[in-house]
Symmetry: C2
Subunit: 269 residues, 2 copies
C-alpha cells in the first residue's frame, strides 16, 4: 500500500540506482533539500551505506541523508509507488511517453494531489539505467541539454527535476485535475511487478519464448505495453486472475465430459 502520510507531503521519491560516488548522493540530497524533497532512496550504493562522503557533500541536508533508505533492487525501491518516471540522456526506441522536466512535474503534481505516490529514477554515473529498469517507468524524462555537450551529473539532473517539482506547486491547478479515483487507484509498482512475473512465468511454462535468446527483448516490450496501459490495481487483479485461470486449463473451453464447458474463469483463489 502507498504510504500517503510521508510521501505525499514530500513530493516524489528520488531513486538513485547504484550510484558509484558518495559525493553524488550527498549533492543530490542537497539539491532535493533546496526544493523541498525529502524521500531519497538508494539502490545498491557501490560504496555502501552510510557513506561519509555523502554526508560531507550533503552540506546541511542531513535530514534527507538521515531519512534515506537503501534497497537491494530497483523493484524493491519503487514497489510502493503508483507513478514512476525514469531519467535518461540518450533517446532510445522505447514505447513510452517522453517528457521534459516541466511536463514531468506537471504529471507528478496532480497525481500526488490525488493520493498517487510518485518517484523518479536516476541511473548510474556512466551507464545510466538498464532497459529493464526503464521498462518499469510510466514515462521517460529527458533534460533539454545541449547535444554538443551532454554531461549532466546525477545531482544536476535531480536539481532540475526538484526545481520543476517545486515550481509546479506554485500554480493552484494541481488539485483540480482529475487523476485516479479513491475507489480505483492506479496499480502500485509492486502490483505491476507481480503481474509481470506472473505472466512471464506462465509464458515460460508454456514455452512461449522461442528462441530463448529473444526472451529479454520480448519481455521488455510486453512490460512496456502493460505499463503504458496505466492499469488500476483492480485491473491488475483481474488480469492476474485471468492468467491463473488460463494456467490451470487450456485456453479453449473444453468438454468436461459431463456436458458442461469450462470457461477458464470463476475459480481463482
Amino acid at each position: 500500500m502507498q504510504n500517503f502520510d510521508t510521501l505525499l507531503s514530500d513530493g516524489p521519491a528520488i531513486v538513485l540506482v547504484e550510484p558509484q560516488l558518495g559525493e553524488n548522493i550527498g549533492t543530490a540530497a542537497r539539491a532535493m533539500a533546496n526544493f523541498g524533497l525529502k524521500d531519497l532512496r538508494i539502490v545498491n550504493p557501490r560504496e555502501g551505506w552510510p557513506n561519509e562522503r555523502a554526508n560531507a557533500a550533503a552540506s546541511r541536508a542531513d535530514h534527507v541523508i538521515a531519512r534515506a533508505r537503501v534497497f537491494p533492487t530497483v523493484e524493491a525501491a519503487v514497489a510502493d509507488l503508483g507513478f514512476l518516471l525514469a531519467t535518461t540522456a540518450r533517446s532510445r526506441a522505447l514505447a513510452k511517453p517522453v517528457l521534459g522536466p516541466k511536463e514531468a512535474a506537471a504529471a507528478l503534481r496532480p497525481r500526488a494531489a490525488n493520493g498517487i505516490a510518485g518517484g523518479i529514477l536516476f541511473g548510474r554515473e556512466r551507464i545510466g539505467l538498464m532497459n529493464e529498469e526503464l521498462a518499469l517507468a510510466d514515462a521517460i524524462v529527458t533534460l533539454p541539454v545541449d547535444p554538443e555537450y551532454a554531461s549532466l551529473n546525477i545531482a544536476q539532473a535531480v536539481l532540475i527535476l526538484a526545481y520543476e517539482w517545486r515550481l509546479s506547486g506554485f500554480s493552484g491547478e494541481a488539485e483540480a485535475l482529475p487523476f485516479g479515483r479513491p475507489d480505483d487507484p492506479p496499480a502500485t509498482k509492486a502490483e505491476m511487478l507481480n503481474l509481470f512475473e506472473h505472466l512471464e512465468a506462465s509464458l515460460d511454462a508454456a514455452s512461449f519464448f522461442r528462441p530463448p535468446e529473444r526472451r529479454p527483448s520480448v519481455v521488455e516490450g510486453l512490460r512496456a505495453m502493460l505499463q503504458r496501459a496505466a492499469l488500476t490495481g483492480q485491473e491488475v487483479r483481474t488480469l492476474r486472475g485471468m492468467i491463473a485461470a488460463i494456467e490451470r486449463r487450456p485456453t479453449r473451453p473444453r468438454d468436461r465430459g459431463d456436458g458442461t464447458l469450462t470457461t477458464g474463469r470463476g475459480d481463482e483463489p
Copy 2:
C-alpha cells in the same frame, strides 16, 4: 561597445564574483556547457587563475574554461553589457524588480534577440553580492528554494538559470517582442557607471552628502533609481551633458551683469 558576434550567440555572460573555490568555477562551467552557455567571466578569483581544480571539476567543459576571462572588478566584468541581472538568496529592500529564473530568462531572451548583451551576477560562496554590486543590476533574480533549507551553491544557481535560458529558446516568441531599437539601444553598464561617477563626483563637489556617513546609502539609492529607469545610451549622454552644464554654473539663473540671464544650458562640449 557590445561585442554582438560572440555574446549573442552564446547567451548571457555568467559572472562569478570572487569565487573562493576552484571546484565551484569548474562545476559552474559544466552547468553552463550543458545548457549551451559559453561566456564565463570571473571577478578576482581567490585561488588565482588558471586553476587546476576548476579544470578538474569542469569535466569536459574545457571550452568554457579556456574562454573564461578574469576581471579585477565587477564593474570591469560587466562594462560591455546592456542588461544585467544579479542573483541573491536573501530578499533585501532593493528598489529593483525581483524575478524568478523563468522570468529572468524571459527578460534576457528578447533583449539578446534585439542585440542587447545580457549577463547574470553570482555572488561569493558565503556572503553573496555586496549592495553596491547589486545596485549595478537592472533586476534581481531569486530562486524559489525551500525557505527552511536554502543552501544552493553557485554551480546549482548557474545550472537553474542556464536551464531556463535554454528552455526560453525553444519558444519562438523571443524574436517578436520589441525591446530596444537599433538606433536607441540601452546604455551599457560602462556608460551607466560613468554616469554614476560623474554625478557622484559632482554631488561631492557640491557637498551634497551630509553627513558624509550617509553617502554610501544615498549613492546606492541613487544608482538603483537610475538603473531602474532603463536609460538608453542617448539618454545617458543627455544626462551627463546636463550634469556638466550644471557643474559649470549655478543652478539658478543669475544676472550676468549685462541684463541677460544664464540658463545653465547651451554650451556643453
